[in-house]
């Protein structure tokens, strides 16, 4: 038996197919992951993301610490509640994890890191934090619910009630508001509008039920994966890890080079790589033929093996197979994928494939 979130019993009651995910017993789907995918694109779906690790950082030097810890620059966070996506790198520029950091006040930042990388992340963060006298507090007392889709926010507003709704209804994208004992963030991993809501674990089941009563339906990790892939969002461990840098992972946009005097872990290695040029890049693939692209299938460019698929699946919105692949930097607009011995033509495209319910291809 794995670890269970406060919503585990809700999943079982809803006939979820439970699978192991990084040591957690999590719902894969509740019947059909494709129906759940369409629901998020067209209406609203609920995800239990309580397995993710929430870390609160406090102390007067927290901002300075994060300026050093993260490849993106927390000085971009000026307004309370603003969030930033960043990689946390090792000295070689390899990605230890990707995360979202929220600025709440000058002595309170919150980070949400992946579940599967929890122990190594916490060890790394704690080691680095010593030099800055920052207090690191893991918030295992909190659960997290994502409600995503074009109708997600209106459903959440109805559950929050008028007094609290006022505090969140005008939140901009990538902003968080603290509302009583909850934190409501306009973030997500689906390419749709919606909220991620952190709240005391003992209140999670009631809140989940209230969202269901408003019409939101539970969605599992299966739909979460096809949604994020369509939306062009990387998955840690598949699309990047400690052996790859952000520059090789289509995450250049998350590295803040300016100001040049900001010293962050991995900076020297990245600068060197930027100067010599990357050998491999992460690209999107789209297949017009029938079939489904799978992780680790070989990608062939100009007759030579060039790399492999890092995340392959079927796009329910496009009705075609899509993938991310790490290939040689010389890749053009066409490639082939070795699918069970057959070489199939694919188009090389720049993700996202789908945003706000619409094809970008």
């Amino acid at each position: 038996m794995g670890k269970r979130t406060a919503l585990y019993n809700m999943h079982v009651q809803a006939n979820a197919k439970i699978v192991d995910f990084g040591g957690w017993d999590m719902p894969l789907h509740y019947g059909s992951q494709i129906d759940e995918h369409h629901l998020v694109r067209q209406d609203a779906g609920l995800f239990d993301v309580s397995h993710m690790t929430i870390v609160d950082l406090s102390g007067g030097k927290t901002r300075a610490f994060l300026r050093y810890l993260l490849a993106n620059n927390v000085d971009r966070l000026k307004q309370s509640g603003k969030a930033l996506y960043s990689c946390m790198l090792n000295e070689h520029g390899g990605v230890i994890d990707d995360l979202i950091v929220y600025f709440l006040s000058d002595d309170w930042f919150r980070m949400v890191v992946n579940a599967a990388t929890r122990e190594k992340d916490l060890a790394w963060i704690n080691t680095q934090a010593k030099k800055f006298d920052v207090t690191v507090k893991v918030r295992d007392d909190l659960g997290m619910i994502a409600v995503q889709g074009p109708r997600a926010r209106e459903m959440a507003h109805a559950v929050l009630g008028s007094a609290n709704m006022v505090k969140v209804k005008d939140l901009g994208a990538f902003f968080m508001a603290v509302v009583d004992d909850m934190a409501v963030a306009r973030t997500g991993y689906t390419g749709e509008d919606g909220y991620e809501i952190m709240l005391p674990s003992d209140k999670a089941a009631a809140f989940w039920q209230q969202l269901m009563d408003k019409g939101a339906k539970p969605c599992g990790l299966g739909a979460r994966d096809t949604l994020r892939l369509e939306a062009g969002m990387n998955l840690y461990g598949s699309d990047m890890d400690e052996t790859t840098t952000p520059l090789e992972s289509a995450l250049n946009w998350t590295v803040a080079w300016e100001p040049v005097e900001r010293d962050f872990i991995g900076r020297k290695a990245l600068e060197q790589q930027k100067q010599t040029g990357v050998k491999t890049v992460l690209v999107g693939l789209l297949m017009d033929e029938k079939g489904v692209l799978r992780n680790h299938q070989k990608v062939i460019v100009d007759g030579l093996e060039s790399g492999e698929i890092t995340s392959g699946s079927f796009s329910p919105t496009l009705g075609k197979a899509i993938a991310f692949a790490r290939v040689g930097a010389n890749v053009g607009e066409h490639a082939k994928v070795d699918m069970r011995g057959r070489l199939i033509d694919v188009r090389v495209v720049k993700p996202p494939f789908v945003r706000h319910g619409k094809s970008c291809i």
Binding site: L28, H29, S32, Q33, G222, V292, F314
Partner: protein, 130 residues
Amino acid sequence: MSNVPQELRYSKTHEWVRQENDGTLTIGITDHAQGLLGDLVFVETPEVGSNYETGEDCAVVESVKAASDVYAPLAGKIVQVNTALADKPEIINSDPYGAGWLYKLKPEQPGELDELLNAAAYSAQIAADH
């Protein structure tokens, strides 16, 4: 629990077989198999008129999760395929023993049918797999 209809025969590789009055056999994949695969997104059916040996792979069902070969539970010639699956492979998920059938086969040796598993034996097999 997976549905295992009493009146059908089964292969160890999760195909079901129904004897029709005209001597042909209708073949599909079991409820247990579709449950393991999850949402089906593509189905490759065999060509009408082609012949297969017992245990030969003759179709492919592909889900979001995995691609899986479908084997001929007994030797014979394909006489009809379910063309509706090309546009709606998810019928296999919703109705594996009905509208989600894959193909009809005219067996070389109808007696081979008796060598397949009955419902009780197939149920025991999938219970043991767990």
